[in-house]
Symmetry: C2
Subunit: 381 residues, 2 copies
């Protein structure tokens, strides 16, 4: 096992505390000398032979093993519903590996700059591993409700002046000595997320297309890495096209892709209802672009209107309640009509973001009115 | 397959539209002439041979297959985390069977009197099955946020004057002609819930104790039925003691149990933070009492203070975020010190009830203060 730099190609012995290339500052990837496909048990650690640690070293809440649901609307399409993870998002797959690595590295605290799914998931796993979860957030910019889950899981919440970028800078410049950082630049964390590919493979083989919402871009890169490893082992013949989905108001990578530019077009004030992908400067962009390019994939953008419509449609046609960022993947199914089998990765649960829907009710004050109302709801009765 | 009356013992041919004994009005149980243990695939329908329908007839979102997590605090204890179901509670197991039965019975709409997990789950499954979900609720007594999930899944929400009992009466007296009722008296629905026992059995064998929160009392009865069927097939040697947990302010069955009374002591104004078990007149009480008695089990009560403490402790020691009703099972682990292996069934996700925690934060305005704060959070750094 070694760490390889995505930018300059340098290789290093595995180091749980190395987060970027010492030579060029590029992102790192975990590279294995030997992979072993021997699925056993359930969830992420079912794929022990493809992961950097042993099952017995894992801080686990039995994450993964999520539903792969056949679409009732789109032929040959499946929804991989990551909302059914322990804290309600795919982040749990990364955190079981990332937090286990932190523990093995001797950390006594884990830190992230995040307000959302990353913070909630990290807090749950760090607490289970008896390490202190610390989250750094911009003051006054986050609804209290967003912090509920992290706080329940024992997070120490630190507010600072400024924006998210400042929070991340504070963590990286001053936090890493005291606490182990698990933002998505951490290459170990992404290893857990690639198991989405393994589970898809076990249920439907290697699909033709995999559609993934893109914020910081770590997840699509991780899933692509998973499929490449399956191909390397001769298990997948072909590999899927990776389709990245961004919200129109937060589309630094999709815009660059459209224009044929090799670097993202930073968005300074990203704006979308899909908070989990409201990212203007995606940390993992080199990995993300590589995944889409290597796989012969593409980027798609969806509007907030399309996202909300897809959220309702998925809830009502498929029975799956997704957070808006997750619904973005479903929205993309309408836009990209690709041949073959398609899997849409729906990244988080509707309950993560319960304030979107405007609730309407009926009122009746007699059995007669009740029956009349029923007959309008169910014509012919 | 037949329906058997729990009260008078009468037996009837299977009828998807029979909800109580035509002779005595008692609750019904589904009884099989032949059970087949041949697990295949994942989730509830893995146990097709133990269920009343075939997998190909199922309206499914791949529910079940939830984490069984080893406790870090209680030796020989496991947490069965039902919050990791598609709509965030164990109700999904019942609804995949109940809604499939409704579809097979030719229903065009499904109806429940409920505001909580039952309504959310029913709405998701009915919508997926192309039937109209209808929920009946007391006007002015439910926070709008509670209806979010049902509404997202396309529920028609009907408000009436009066209490929950009136809502249920309206459904039963006037609704069942037009729509298929799936409140917990429905014996078909409970068949799905027994698969909790099957999954526990496959992972740790037959445990010595199973702790289950009790509201209407259907779930503990269903899980007990599952273990009895395993024993009947010779798979389990012994059967577990079933431990029912009620909140102090909503304990009609636990109080009766303590006093050695054979019928529940109705609670007219049930009161607890654990809304999912805030039930004063449990519909399934004869089944519930039978499960606890037959199994050599017991009832326990827990206070709201104990429930909230257990919720925080479970989130921070185990990494599992539960709604208060689910945390009641964890609270009971402290109270009942039973020998052998114990499984606590944690029924729903923390995100179902996000308003409990009072969030505290720190504020820093310099890197120095940040480091000082970190050193108080992580002593010795």
């Amino acid at each position: 096992m070694r760490l390889g730099c995505v930018r300059c190609g340098s290789a290093y012995p595995p180091d749980f505390k190395m987060f970027k290339c010492p030579r060029c500052g590029g992102l790192l990837d975990v590279v294995y000398d030997e992979l072993e496909w021997s699925p056993r048990g359930r969830g992420v650690w079912r794929y022990e032979g493809m992961l950097p640690l042993k099952r017995r070293e894992a801080v686990t809440i039995m994450e993964g093993g999520t539903p792969l649901v056949e679409s009732t609307k789109y032929p040959n399409a499946y929804i991989k519903f990551e909302g059914a993870n322990p804290t309600g998002s795919f982040k749990d797959r990364g955190m079981t590996v990332g937090v286990s690595v932190a523990l093995k590295a001797g950390a006594r605290a884990v830190i992230v700059a995040s307000t959302g799914n990353t913070a909630s998931s990290m807090s749950a796993y760090a607490s289970r591993g008896r390490m202190a979860p610390i989250i750094v957030v911009p003051k006054g910019k986050i609804a209290r409700g967003k912090l509920f889950q992290s706080f329940l899981h024992g997070a120490h919440v630190i507010e600072i002046d400024g924006y998210f970028d400042e929070a991340l800078r504070l963590v990286m410049e001053h936090g890493v000595e005291a606490a182990y950082p698990l933002n998505s630049f951490n290459p170990w964390r992404l290893e857990g997320q690639k198991t989405i590919a393994f589970e898809i493979y076990e249920e439907v083989g290697c699909p033709d297309n995999v559609v993934v919402p893109v914020g910081n871009g770590g997840n699509i890169a991780a899933i692509w890495k998973g499929f490449k490893e399956l191909a390397q082992l001769g298990l997948c013949r072909g590999t899927p096209r990776m389709i990245g989905v961004q919200a129109e108001g937060a589309a630094p990578l999709a815009r660059a892709w459209e224009l044929g530019v090799e670097e993202p077009l930073w968005v300074d004030d990203p704006n979308t209802v899909a908070t989990a992908i409201r990212i203007g400067r995606p940390v993992n962009w080199p990995k993300t672009l590589r995944a889409v390019r290597e796989s012969g994939g593409a980027f798609v953008t969806v509007s907030d209107g399309e996202i909300l419509k897809a959220q309702a449609e998925m809830a009502q046609r498929e029975g799956i309640g997704a957070e808006p960022a997750g619904a973005a993947a479903y929205a993309a199914l309408r836009k990209v009509r690709l041949g073959g089998t398609t899997v849409a990765v729906v990244t988080g649960h509707a309950l993560k973001d319960p304030d979107i829907v405007d609730i309407r009710t009926h009122y009746v004050d007699s059995a007669d009115k009740f029956l009349r109302l029923l007959s309008t709801i169910i014509p012919g009765t």
